[in-house]
Symmetry: C2
């Protein structure tokens, strides 16, 4: 967050790399989409409106598909490409994107949730996982996530805390609670899973899977969100663990940890 | 170049990759320095003052040396790290840097040279090449280039065109001339080679070697620069080639072409 001449700018930078963030053989057009979308999702979580992008791209086989996908995502979100750099890597491809946006109101943090606040989420949880696992109906959710820019802008002035879910609902909710000095209890019955996801094990996995780029936010009791959302939990005064699920402390990894 | 709330922002993004921009085995501290320095050099060429940086970094063996070098270059140029991202690559390391600066006056372009203008350069040409080739006295010129931020800011309001030399003096001078619709004639006797570089072949190679990050600028006849500089040529009305050397059209590659 940068204050410049009376404007509040939001800057984000994410990298993606072959073999780490996407599988070899992925259509480079989808790589371009995801690269831009994950950065725009960071802007969405800050309630920011995009100004433009800088892209660092590896030119490898299929670069024309990368350019095609880039054009599509820029057009879809009406964001200009301002500049960047290209390299010819010796090994695997990697890409970087810097997104610049300006705040449309107060800039949400992830540290502001208070005991008594409700935890909300937009969209569904688990569609990207199902897409990754080969379910055709959810392929786009994994390959071409939709940054929730309009939702983020509509929510920013009302929330106590907001972030996008990139590493898993449980992990990101625990991070928000911990950063806010609270414990959050999540009610699994309230989670908006995609239609037809009823198997308990799949549901549990979906809670720990990232890539959905839904928005997670804390709002005061009684808040009626201006966008479609699900109330999935409640913040309390901090206890031993930052997160409980239906009152129990979860075991196992909560999500994707960057190691 | 981005106009925001009455301020003019300059944004640049460059990537560097192992095996392409630096040799395997290079001290990661030097990689960090160069990554930041090349981006600050782009700001220097625009006469901009740095506001901050975003870094995308591969975490591999020696990351603590990368962090150490990053601290050094940030301190040397008094630039804050605003954010970024890290990845654990499957193969070779790559890095991206976005530098944000604000213009301190008119923003120089590379298209503004006019027939009759003199071509000037700051610093020396060839020290980075000598460092790359193992001459200890010039090792730092290659590993830790100095972005000429103060010089760029002092020059910006006076020049007709300016850019930093990253791909070779001849190539970058030809680009400036071509972009300006001129031909530039370079006088080799006026080139500021490092002390002791007298061999004609080494001199010719130095003219085609990048990495010096000197500033190249076009200024009206009679201009007395506010910084140390060498007047190395003159712009003329366009002829068949954008560049001549002592009146002759050069043969062979003019510099490092990004293919």
């Amino acid at each position: 967050v940068l204050e410049i001449g009376g404007e509040t700018l939001i800057l984000t930078h994410d990298m993606i790399a072959e073999g780490v963030h996407y599988r070899a053989g992925t259509d480079p057009a989808d790589v371009a989409w995801k690269l831009v979308a994950v950065n725009l999702s960071d802007l969405a979580a800050k309630g920011a409106k995009p100004i433009g992008l800088l892209i660092g791209a590896s030119l490898t086989e299929g670069s024309e598909r990368f350019v095609a996908g880039l054009r599509e995502v820029l057009a879809a979100y009406n964001v200009p490409l301002l500049g960047g750099d290209t390299i010819r890597p010796e090994g695997k491809a990697s890409f970087g994107c810097t997104a610049i946006g300006h705040a449309t109101g107060p800039v949400p943090v992830r540290t502001g949730a208070k005991p008594g606040d409700a935890l909300w989420v937009t969209g569904t949880i688990g569609a990207a996982m199902l897409g990754f696992r080969g379910e055709a109906a959810h392929a786009q959710a994994y390959l071409r996530p939709r940054p929730l820019l309009a939702e983020g802008q509509a929510l920013a002035r009302h929330v106590h805390a907001m972030m996008d879910i990139s590493d898993g609902l449980l992990l990101d909710a625990a991070r928000m609670a911990e950063a806010s000095g609270c414990t959050v209890d999540i009610e699994t019955a309230a989670i908006p899973f995609p239609h037809g996801v009823t198997d308990p094990r799949t549901r549990d996995e979906a809670l720990r899977w990232g890539d959905d780029y839904a928005l997670l936010f804390a709002a005061p009791p009684g808040f009626v969100p201006p966008v479609t959302g699900s109330r999935i939990g409640e913040f309390r005064a901090a206890t031993a663990a930052p997160l409980t699920i239906d009152g129990e402390t979860p075991t196992g990894p909560l999500g994707y940890e960057h190691r």
